[in-house]
Symmetry: C2
Subunit: 387 residues, 2 copies
């Protein structure tokens, strides 16, 4: 198996972008990634792009061919991957396999979602396709509702408090206020989070990640050719894991533990020959505040049940023991579903290069990205290190 390195990363504009299309957003991110790497687009041999539901959001599937065409690199191979909100992480992993196998030497991994081109409840309906359509969505439960049930179970079992949930939002908005790319660059107070319009008890609107249009790209090559192919410091991918769980929440033995994340992390730690204690910082899937708490536990970054106290003690803040979501996370940076997993790779590379500016994690040597689909029916975990 060939080792793989990231040699370039790029993002498009993120936000409510009614004037822009998915092809447009992808091309912006792709151009930024190849510019960052200093690699000619003509050297790209394949595109793998994560997208959750181009069909329900925009009426457009066949996303791979679309973006290869508009980026001007047809007739290269172009495929979309989908694992709901972990579509970007799954694309990155598929890209690793494409390079590690020897099938391709230069692969552009991307992710995108255009979420605002639908009417009132359209986004909620489209996102519900990540849950069990027949046994969850059909009966009217939405994602805020599903995660609210997980939150209530976690609160009952471990004593996690409403305030601790809110502190995740406060921390991530503070981080996002230092990220010029974030959709929301405003710090929020604990009182604002606690007093926000209720969405699904215990969540107010500030416990929920937003609806976002955006794309992200990463260019990957074999590690041994990275310095020859591209300019700048390549970042090695040392660990990759992916796992699944029951699609319906009701089928789980324990609502408070993310089995797919724990399993994917185990694979990634094994491949990277390290453990949770060796991670400098992490970007994780905080689609709702409870998610970040449960993910840090499943990754072993904090002890089981201690995700709430850890955020309250500042352990996961920038400057804390294990900074989590220095970028602002999905909560503040935005969550264009299929792009999120690749944007996490963007943040890891930026931090590991020491180029994260006001949100830089000091001593960032080994970063972890965790991307999650549905209520955790899919998870990917990747570990990146300075070469």
């Amino acid at each position: 198996m060939r080792d793989v390195a990231v040699v370039g990363v790029g993002l498009s504009e993120w936000g409510e972008l009614w004037g822009r299309s998915i092809r447009d957003l992808f091309v912006e991110a792709a151009v930024n990634a190849v510019d960052d790497a200093g690699v000619e687009p003509g050297r790209i041999e394949a595109i793998i792009v994560g997208c959750m539901t181009g069909g329900l959001f925009t009426g457009q599937e066949h996303i791979g061919a679309l973006v290869a065409d508009y980026f001007g690199v047809a007739p290269i191979s172009a495929t979309r991957t989908e694992s709901a909100c972990a579509s970007g992480g799954a694309a990155f992993r598929a890209g690793l396999m494409a390079v590690a196998s020897g099938y391709h030497d230069v692969v552009l991994v991307g992710g995108l979602e255009k979420m605002t081109d639908v009417d009132g409840g359209g986004a909620t309906r489209a996102l519900a396709a990540a849950s069990d359509a027949e046994y969850e969505a059909y009966h009217g439960v939405t994602f805020p509702g599903l995660y609210a049930m997980m939150a209530r179970a976690h609160m009952a079992k471990y004593g996690t408090t409403r305030e601790q949930l809110a502190m995740v939002a406060v921390k991530n908005h503070l981080n996002g206020s230092k990220n010029s790319h974030a959709q929301y660059q405003d710090a929020v107070t604990l009182e604002q989070v606690l007093g926000a319009t209720k969405v699904a008890d215990p969540f107010g609107v500030l416990d929920c990640s937003p609806i976002t249009d955006g794309a992200a790209c990463a260019l990957i090559v074999p590690a041994r050719t990275a310095r020859r192919v591209a300019k700048g410091i390549p970042i090695r991918v040392t660990g990759s894991g992916q796992a699944s769980d029951t699609i319906a929440l009701a089928d789980r033995k324990d609502l408070t533990f993310l089995r797919s994340t724990a399993e994917a992390a185990k694979q990634a730690y094994r491949q990277a020959k390290c453990g949770a204690a060796d991670i400098s910082f992490a970007e994780v899937h905080d689609c709702f505040t409870i998610a970040e708490i449960m993910v840090t536990e499943a990754l072993g970054l904090v002890k089981r049940g201690q995700g709430g106290p850890a955020v309250e003690a500042g352990e996961t803040a920038i400057g804390g023991r294990i900074p989590v979501n220095a970028s602002g996370g999905l909560k503040s940076k935005g969550h264009p579903v299929g792009a999120t997993g690749v944007a996490q790779i963007h943040e890891l590379v930026t931090q590991l290069r020491g180029k994260a500016g006001k949100r830089q994690v000091k001593g960032a040597k080994r970063g972890l990205a965790q991307n999650m689909g549905g209520t955790g029916a899919s998870s990917t975990v990747h570990i990146l290190e300075v070469s």
Copy 2:
């Protein structure tokens, strides 16, 4: 790069199956594949499943996790691939990379589509997501219309006749009448095809592949372990290619040539160290009758412009120089979009094992499968050989 072999294949029931769900259909195909291979499901390390648009057809995305859950193999890695109607071929190729890279030793590749759970124009609208949603579908053009334009261009340039188009349908329905798994097992006459209800000039309804519910699976392992892991004769995958083209037909220089298929074939022939003349038989993407004619040309199985005369001369019939779609093809066997590419692998394995019964191609030693998305904006080509 590790060589890969197929050790088991399976199909679900195919047809208009209003009483069955996508999870149900996938599990049937998966059980048949592992039974065929004699491999315990617990040995499967990853699932990669092709599906074009679970969202628009059924409201369900997150297809990978769904089928892993219902097949009872969670928490293994499970990802969906999508390249429109080539989603199954793309899944197969992603599976090859997963095994060739050393990431996984036993991978279940699948494909599925549940197309009949939508009302009147729902299927046509969902399928239009494989075209350019903004510049084709938005203006009302449908897939029969797009392929009809390609047919008219081919007729004008090469003198391909209306009768030759119809002969593709006659041949494939005759083949399908020998396939107990085909959705339509009825031979049709030239007069029936020519006289059928017009869909988009020059096509009648019998020039078009049907709407189908169904799934297909193939179990793949490293070639060197195939005889140890599974019972029966493993079939080696010796060539794989994938390529793209402009998503919109209007952006092509030549409507009569499938560039993505020609490019994917070039890659596959190179890897398999063979040429078109070395292929014993082929399963190709005959979504419309003109498609088979154009594909045989792009693959080099017949000369450019000679696809029509070749079918008229019986060259592509079972017993002809190069049998094409001995299974009945999409036209007669059915076309559950995401499943089609994997079902082609099923047919190749069945033929190469000499188990195709009344439709057996004599001397089948090297088979080729070509799967195509949209109007050819994506193509995959795979070459399989007896060990």
